[in-house]
Symmetry: C2
Subunit: 305 residues, 2 copies
């Protein structure tokens, strides 16, 4: 069933030990939508400048992503550049030019409001809330956030996630949001903030899902080569929410097979792992659903006992 | 079937955010043997000084550990002390007094030589080799090592592990030994050094098992409180090797159920997790096999999909 994704569409400059790209398609919304599009009909809400390439628009459209909500305005598209450390566990931001993204005020196209699933990428919490209020009848809503919002707009963030079904963040964000280093304690506190489901991403160390009645953990996929980790967490999000949308999952009603939630975490991990195999979004140029399902089965094989 | 464990028996001074102990029973051999003793008949080879407490000897003996090979000599028992960082991911060694351990030259008591299983704890590689040569007809042999031996006695170490069935080390040791940061590549190189099975411990991030024909990964157990991580890796080793010995596993013949190896990694993880719940070896004072099997089932529950 149809999913709406809100967030940034950008151009990135990326340098890893495997090479360098000066300006390639990026942005959290791009990665989430590309990843989710393998599972479900996906529509985006984002803003780009008049420098946004026609071929990028065409490609996203060919991937089946609905672009009615991709607003194009005068000015330049959000640009970010960074360089990764040798082991790729750290990255240094070289440039962040918000450009047209600085004034992003997401407006839902008429047809989007009744879509059943909403994923709010990492943007200002009040904007996330504004989008949610434009929707009616969502079967679940959730999203991501980051250290900046946790620290600087905490009350706004808490008011926003209070009505979310799930929150999907990384381990350091979970620690910061909860004030607890221990992730089991952190999860308990975060679940008390509103979301019934918390997914904590741990990069190469895998991911965890917490609910009051459930705990699920999966190790990270072991790649032969990590080419570029940019976007891997967003691709995880896309796989997680995309799979749930494909299954017509209703997180609100509570009568569901919790194993399906576990499988959504595995599909998230699968999509995150594929993302790292090439620069930027390049892996999605020829990735097939068959390869995705094969890697899902690989996860089963190397975690079964 | 009967297991022989070689390594250090020591006294430790430990400080963690949860408290402090000035002098408690410790040492890799102690942890490995205590952990393995829940699965199989375990005998140790180690040396202590004349300050070694009768009550510690009695307790180990009551736990069913055979102490014929625990040599007591004039002088002081190996003493180590250290303090953990607030998040317990780092520790600073305050004191290392090798004492009688400096001249440790492990000699197998007559009855040990024909035992089927041998675990060589982290001591000088040439000593590990010397012990192995005193055994006849082992069904499998393997062990641990550390950064110091990898760096300073590399050739000796390589000659030693060449005939081992398994090597059980942590991720930074695997990277150092192989010269590869990527663990999949590191594992490939290490398997070419001799052992048919490699287990890489990753602390709170779990563990991995590599063979030419197999890969298995498990996330770390999520404790509510890590009291003291000292000895957790050794308890992992004890659970892993203890379970294989209990099952009468023959790593050399190659005709076995690889799922049993996976389960051995889970039992290792279970034992490592229990170890962290109290200071030093204290958790083993009342730990039962039933609790161990319950946690094994818990692992199944939170990793199944």
């Amino acid at each position: 069933m149809s999913l709406v994704v809100v967030g940034s569409v950008a151009y990135d400059g990326i340098e890893t030990p495997h090479g360098k790209r000066d300006r390639i398609l990026g942005g959290a919304c791009t990665y989430i939508a590309l990843s989710a599009s393998y599972f479900t009909k996906t529509a985006i809400v984002a803003v780009v400048g008049d420098d946004f390439a026609g071929e990028d628009r065409s490609w996203l459209s060919e991937k089946g992503i609905e672009l009615t909500g991709l607003e194009q305005v005068p000015g330049k598209t959000f640009f970010w550049s960074g360089v990764y450390s040798d082991d790729m566990n750290d990255r240094t931001t070289l440039r962040t030019d918000l450009n047209v993204f600085a004034d992003f005020n997401p407006k839902l196209p008429a047809g989007y409001a009744s879509r059943p699933y909403l994923f709010l990428g990492n943007i200002q919490p009040s904007l996330q809330r504004g989008v949610q209020q434009q929707m009616n009848g969502v079967r679940f809503v959730g999203g991501d956030t980051m250290n900046y919002w946790i620290h600087d707009t905490r009350e706004e963030l808490l008011a926003t996630i209070r009505t979310w079904d799930f929150l999907l963040i990384n381990d350091s964000e979970a620690r910061m949001l909860s004030g607890e280093y221990n992730l089991r304690k952190a999860a308990k506190k975060i679940l008390a903030m509103g979301p019934n489901t918390l997914v904590i991403k741990r990069g190469e160390h895998g991911a965890m899902l917490f609910r009051e009645d459930a705990l699920f953990m999966v190790p990270g996929y072991l790649l032969d080569d990590v080419f570029d980790p940019t976007g891997a967490g967003d691709c995880f999000a896309g796989g997680f929410v995309g799979y749930l949308a494909e299954k017509g999952f209703d997180l609100r009603n509570g009568h569901f097979d919790v194993q399906e939630l576990h499988r959504a975490v595995i599909y998230g991990s699968v999509m995150g792992s594929f993302c790292c195999e090439r620069f930027g979004v390049e892996r999605f140029r020829d990735l097939t659903r068959k390869q995705i399902d094969q890697r899902f089965e690989e996860f089963r094989k190397f975690t079964a006992f």
